[in-house]
């Protein structure tokens, strides 16, 4: 194809303004893609699990811990839920052992969510657990469009960050965490359901551990 031919065709649809990402957004998306390709699907997240990391964040006034942490033997909280100044919550899981305690803590904070921990080689049955999951565009805070699951968390504090305001009255947040053999969380899947959410019965699986399988809503 010669340039004359191309120019003639281009003249039929004179798309003069080249759509171009702002540099900052380009950088952001590059960092996202590079982080994803460097991340194995089951990423051990040990760096998130040192309680010592929590203390400096609190000292800086970034977050105020309001969740009731559950303690396991050693005195280290199994998990903590912190409320950030912007209304988002940061969930830190040190020992992924009792999802229903975390669920109860969230409910105590007014967050209607179900929480499940999925060990390696398992998945929830049934999947999908709801016939009325929201699309990604819908699962967000109606005021500012912030997504239900904020990733990366963009806070000094390690953990998983969610915006509870994305869950509207009558809806249920669903949080599934994949868990490694040493009870550390490796990944999260989060969505919001309009209707009821089936309880998670763990079954053996060699598929992706979290969320509905690909193609479930075809």
């Amino acid at each position: 194809m010669n340039e004359g031919e191309r120019a003639a065709l281009a003249g039929l649809l004179p798309f003069e303004a080249e759509p171009r990402l702002p540099d900052g957004r380009h950088r952001q998306l590059k960092e996202f893609v590079m982080s994803e390709i460097r991340t194995p699907v089951e990423r051990p997240r040990k760096r998130l699990l040192r309680p010592a990391l929590l203390a400096p964040a609190l000292a800086l006034g970034v977050a105020v811990a309001v969740g009731v942490p559950a303690f396991f033997g050693s005195g280290t909280p199994a998990y903590a839920v912190s409320k950030n100044a912007d209304g988002t919550l940061t969930i830190t899981i040190n020992q992924a052992k009792d999802p229903k305690s975390l669920e109860a803590t969230l409910r105590g904070m007014g967050v209607n969510a179900v929480v499940d921990y999925i060990p390696m080689g398992k998945r929830c049955s049934p999947q999908p657990r709801s016939t009325s999951f929201l699309s990604r565009e819908e699962a967000q805070n109606p005021a500012d469009g912030r997504p239900f699951l904020i990733w990366p968390p963009d806070t000094d504090e390690p953990g998983f960050r969610i915006d509870p305001a994305a869950i509207k009255p009558g809806q249920t947040g669903v949080l599934e965490f994949s868990v490694s053999e040493d009870e550390q969380t490796a990944g999260i899947w989060a969505n919001i359901s309009n209707g009821p959410v089936a309880p998670c019965a763990l079954v053996d699986s060699d598929e992706a551990p979290l969320g509905p399988p690909p193609g479930w809503d075809d």
């Binding site: 194809m1 003639a8 798309f15 990366p152 479930w216």
Partner: protein, 200 residues
């Protein structure tokens, strides 16, 4: 793009992948925006294209030429099947930082508003083409691939690219002629809506 970068990419070298992103992110975004007509969808296509490129890197022939047709071919497929691609990478997309219309990009936003009216008219004409014609047009005319590269990108014969492009050209020329004759109300073909063309 040199051969070694191709081979390194195939071998899963993250540095080579980063170089590919730097080289191709801009053309991929432009291509995606023109195919989807939607800024946010184009950002999704951009990210998903590179996640797909990484997943499919073993398919790269280490001795080929530029990876541009290959990457733009992936972008075309992703844009065509965005919902399917989004499901495959649902977990990753949930982690993707969302764009915010914050005033850091004021100049850019003003530029986009200026371009919006022009864009609407072009999209009307572009939307009158069949999807396969749109893809060939975008690859050959806007992304600058030659017939053979577009054929490689789409996985079709070179003759197919030529005939799709030729059909697209005839339709657009006919549309341009019609527009000159009737600058008022008109029906956009294949779109069953009546669209008001403003007289300027």
């Amino acid at each position: 793009m040199d051969m070694s970068l191709r081979a390194r990419m195939r071998d899963g070298d993250a540095g080579a992948f980063e170089a590919l992103f730097e080289e191709m992110a801009r053309p991929v975004f432009s291509h995606a925006f023109r195919l989807t007509g939607d800024w946010s969808a184009a950002e999704d296509v951009l990210s998903l294209t590179f996640l797909e490129a990484w997943r499919l890197r073993h398919r790269i022939d280490p001795d080929g030429g530029s990876l541009r047709p290959w990457v733009l071919g992936i972008a075309t497929n992703v844009a065509r099947n965005l919902r399917r691609a989004a499901r495959r990478y649902a977990d990753a997309l949930a982690r993707m930082p969302r764009g915010h219309p914050i005033p850091d990009f004021t100049d850019d936003i003003i530029g986009r508003i200026d371009a919006a009216e022009q864009l609407a008219a072009i999209r009307q004409a572009y939307g009158s083409l069949r999807r396969q014609e749109q893809e060939v047009f975008a690859l050959c005319v806007w992304s600058g691939l030659d017939h053979a590269e577009a054929a490689q990108a789409l996985g079709v014969a070179v003759g197919t690219v030529r005939s799709r492009l030729s059909r697209a050209r005839k339709k657009l020329e006919k549309l341009a002629a019609e527009r000159q004759q009737d600058p008022g109300w008109r029906q956009v073909k294949g779109d069953h809506r009546f669209v008001r063309e403003e007289n300027r």
